[in-house]
């Protein structure tokens, strides 16, 4: 019997059709991957399944029975459990209480039994293999631990259907491996998993079947064994992507940025040294937690270095705050686009000029004409799809938002550009455009530091690769000799197999 079946489900948001007649099913003990570009409808589908959003038409059946009225509490009761990228725990409450909330029924006058709460939490955590103290406060846990607590809670609720949305985004490879083992174990217990990810290697390794969404329609459902990555991409995009990485040879100039023995105690960086030249793309690989983003934050002045020297064109500088970094010509495109990369409520124009206000300010006053000119230039140059430069950035798709973020930094005319996961959460089409832009910038003489967790991206784009491990540089590989295996070996510290 099918665990979950959607038939002809459609949903529109104010005239925009997010889902059109989607039919999807999940069998017990199946890992069913869901892939698609941004805006294809994946998150809408998930939200309908969790009951956060009500479908306009179509039916949902769980274990053969139709669901009449879907809201989060009802769907949870039917065994549907979402596991998001950002775990939804109550930060000030203990792990035991977090697990208990939602499992307990009854009104406000119900008596709470702390002993059984803690006992049940202990049991559930043991089942998922998490070594977490049940009395620890949730905010003190690492992302991976929080995720395990969420899964433990889902198991406690006898979840039959797990909806996992980009679950490995914030995990180290070792933690991801453990998670995969857990998911396979759940499969053995006849739990069904809907697995959403942009990481096609993961999908290939884990899933039994894969469904592809494109522009709100489900275009294909295949057995994983019968489809390869290229085919998947073709189905997602509707066209062949020939050259995935538009890398070309570019004249390399002098050293622009040099780091000598950088250390920052609070973020775990120690003894980091490297150089990057004009026109060069220096990739930064390593496990999540190896210190790449932390290093970027040091270079940008968010967490200044305690020791070591940063040299820009040979001259030693002290970067004590982001404002100084900008003045020195260092730009940083952060990992968290929505919270740090752009300010959603402000317009494209305002976002574009925010880091370069000096360029449009005369005697303290804003030159609105200059602002419009700069914004329009980038709108066209980057092919940003938007009604006008006055549109609020929050209304744009992920890929277009990222382009605005990039425009913001280019408007400061930097000599060094640090990109932190620039294509994360961006659909395949926009990804290719952004890669093209990066290569163009290198050709114009910028020194580029590219932090990325996608090894193909690192290998495809970089001239050299710095591999970080535990806050320091484990090794530097030239493009000619860099391979996934070599990078992983350096990143892990010893020869170990790549996660299956």
């Amino acid at each position: 019997m099918t665990l979950l079946r959607l038939q002809e489900v459609s949903k529109a948001f104010g005239g925009v059709r997010a889902l059109r007649g989607v039919s999807f099913d999940l069998r017990p003990g199946e890992i069913h991957a869901l892939v698609g570009e941004n805006g294809a409808g994946k998150s809408t589908l998930v939200r309908i399944l969790t009951g956060a959003v009500k479908a306009d038409s179509g039916t949902i059946e769980i274990e053969g029975r139709r669901v009449e009225r879907a809201d989060p509490v009802v769907m949870r009761g039917l065994g549907v459990a979402p596991i998001y990228q950002q775990p939804a725990l109550l930060p000030d409450l203990t792990v035991a209480e977090n697990i208990a909330m939602g499992l307990e029924r009854g009104g406000p006058w119900r008596r709470v039994d702390w002993r059984s709460r803690r006992e049940r939490a202990r049991q559930l955590l043991a089942r998922v293999g998490a070594a977490v103290d049940v009395d620890a406060l949730a905010h003190g846990l690492r992302m991976a631990e929080q995720q395990l607590v969420e899964i433990a809670r889902a198991l406690g609720a006898d979840a039959r259907i797990l909806l996992m949305d980009e679950p490995t985004a914030a995990l180290t490879d070792r933690e991801a491996t453990r998670l995969f083992e857990l998911i396979r174990d759940l499969r053995a217990h006849r739990v069904g998993v809907v697995y959403i990810s942009h990481r096609l290697e993961e999908v290939a390794a884990l899933a039994d079947r894969v469904s592809v969404l494109r522009d709100g329609e489900l275009v294909a459902t295949r057995d994983m064994a019968q489809v390869d990555r290229r085919e998947l991409i073709r189905l997602m995009v509707g066209r062949e992507i020939q050259a995935i990485f538009p890398k070309r040879a570019v004249p390399i100039g002098d050293v622009v940025l040099a780091a000598e023995g950088l250390a920052c105690r609070s973020s775990g960086i120690r003894g980091v040294s490297f150089q990057v030249r004009a026109g060069e793309i220096l990739g930064f690989a390593g496990l999540v937690g190896a210190g790449r983003t932390e290093l970027a934050r040091v270079l940008f002045g968010l967490t200044p270095a305690d020791e070591g020297v940063i040299r820009l064109r040979g001259a030693a500088v002290r970067v004590a705050a982001p404002a100084e970094a900008v003045r020195l010509g260092v730009a940083y495109l952060p990992e968290d686009r929505r919270r740090h990369g752009v300010i959603g409520e402000m317009s494209i124009a305002a976002n574009t000029t925010l880091a370069a206000l000096r360029a449009i300010t005369r005697a303290g006053f804003l030159d609105f004409a200059a602002e419009r000119e700069i914004a329009t230039t980038y709108l066209q140059r980057f092919a940003i799809k938007a009604p006008s430069i006055d549109a609020a950035v929050a209304t744009l798709s992920g890929g277009n938002q990222q382009k605005v973020a990039l425009a913001r930094w280019l408007a400061t005319r930097p000599s060094v550009l640090v990109l932190d996961e620039p294509t994360q959460g961006v659909d395949v089409g926009a990804k290719a455009e952004i890669h093209g832009l990066i290569v163009d910038l290198a050709a114009q003489g910028l020194a580029i530091l590219l932090v990325s967790s996608e090894l193909p991206e690192i290998l495809g784009m970089s001239d050299r690769v710095v591999v970080m491990r535990a806050g320091t540089v484990a090794g530097v590989l030239d493009r000619a000799v860099a391979t996934q295996e070599r990078i992983m070996t350096l990143a892990l510290g010893h020869a170990e197999s790549v996660p299956a």
């Binding site: 109550l90 930060p91 006058w109 119900r110 003190g140």
Partner: protein, 316 residues
């Protein structure tokens, strides 16, 4: 996390209180006279009762600065009902009900309309007080029946019952916050209302509920205060909200919600109730009271900022 670490704040407030008591024993032993201690406790009782409500409000990540005005209205209601010949229990119930109703007003505006608590209660603070002044024209409620003062129990029994009742209310609510689902729902709502909603909590109901509870407890506080006298003022409770908030904040309840305890608030009330008279005994004058209160609030929150790692929580 060890017990000491989780309750670090309560322990440090307790330690500060202990130090204060020792200082008094050394420099102003007159403080420990029976009559003075009794006065301190009787004076602290209404603050404790209100602090219980305020703790719930702040835990739910809200604030209520209108309780001073509610206090005045409830006291007047109690006196007016008694003067009209109704039995004391009825008058008392009337005061509590009035408080609950006024709290419900705040609750509807904040939970129902989604308006921010600080500005809403700023508006109700002024609106209620001005309305009271308009209606009563500043005239106190006099010529109350003899059963009004001390609820007819007489001064000795009354001065024992008032702190006793306050402590009983505190104990009941403290137990409920730990052992009843509704109490845990308050913590959950203050910690992250959206996540709490997903686990079946109804944040809007919780927020409405804490404002109503705050109002009812303010009504009780007003009653406990009013029955100590033979008249009812119409301008009581001015600055009451600051005293209560100071006690709760000193006691370790975080303004960001989700974190804090009633034990801490009790200690905060005791500390501040002792500090005031202590300063008088040490030679200070009453007109520095407000400055002291403000200073205490600032020191308490500044100490919080220095001490624990400031965890940024997203704005609601």
């Amino acid at each position: 996390m060890s017990v000491a670490a989780t309750h670090r704040r309560e322990l440090s407030v307790g330690a500060a209180y202990g130090a204060l008591l020792v200082a008094l024993a050394l420099f102003a032993p007159a403080f420990y006279q029976r009559a003075n201690l009794r006065d301190v406790l009787v004076g602290a009782a209404p603050v404790l009762v209100a602090a219980v409500g305020m703790t719930l409000v702040i835990l739910a990540r809200q604030i209520d600065i209108s309780i001073g005005s509610q206090f005045a209205i409830c006291a007047v209601v109690a006196g007016t009902l008694a003067k009209a010949g109704l039995a004391m229990p009825i008058a008392a119930a009337g005061a509590l009900a009035t408080g609950a109703a006024l709290g419900a007003l705040n609750g509807v505006l904040v939970a129902g309309f989604g308006l921010p608590a600080i500005v809403v209660t700023l508006a109700t603070m002024v609106g209620l007080r001005e309305t009271l002044r308009w209606v009563t024209e500043g005239v106190w409620v006099r010529d109350l029946p003899p059963g009004f003062q001390w609820m007819g129990l007489g001064q000795d029994a009354g001065r024992f019952a008032i702190p006793g009742l306050a402590l009983l209310v505190w104990a009941l609510v403290a137990w409920g916050m730990r052992h009843l689902a509704g109490g845990r729902a308050v913590y959950a709502t203050g910690s992250n209302a959206e996540v709490a909603r997903l686990t079946g909590v109804r944040p809007r109901r919780v927020v409405f509920g804490v404002f109503v509870a705050m109002g009812a407890l303010t009504g009780l506080a007003a009653l406990l205060s009013a029955i100590q006298f033979i008249d009812v003022q119409t301008n009581s409770g001015v600055g009451f909200e600051l005293r209560v908030i100071a006690a709760v904040v000193v006691g370790g309840t975080s303004i960001a919600g989700g974190r804090g305890s009633l034990v801490g608030s009790l200690l905060g009330v005791l500390l501040l109730a002792t500090a005031g008279p202590a300063l008088t005994f040490l030679g200070s004058q009453a007109y520095w009271d407000r400055a002291l209160q403000g200073l205490i609030i600032l020191v308490a929150v500044a100490a919080d900022a220095f001490g624990s790692a400031t965890r940024l929580k997203a704005r609601p």
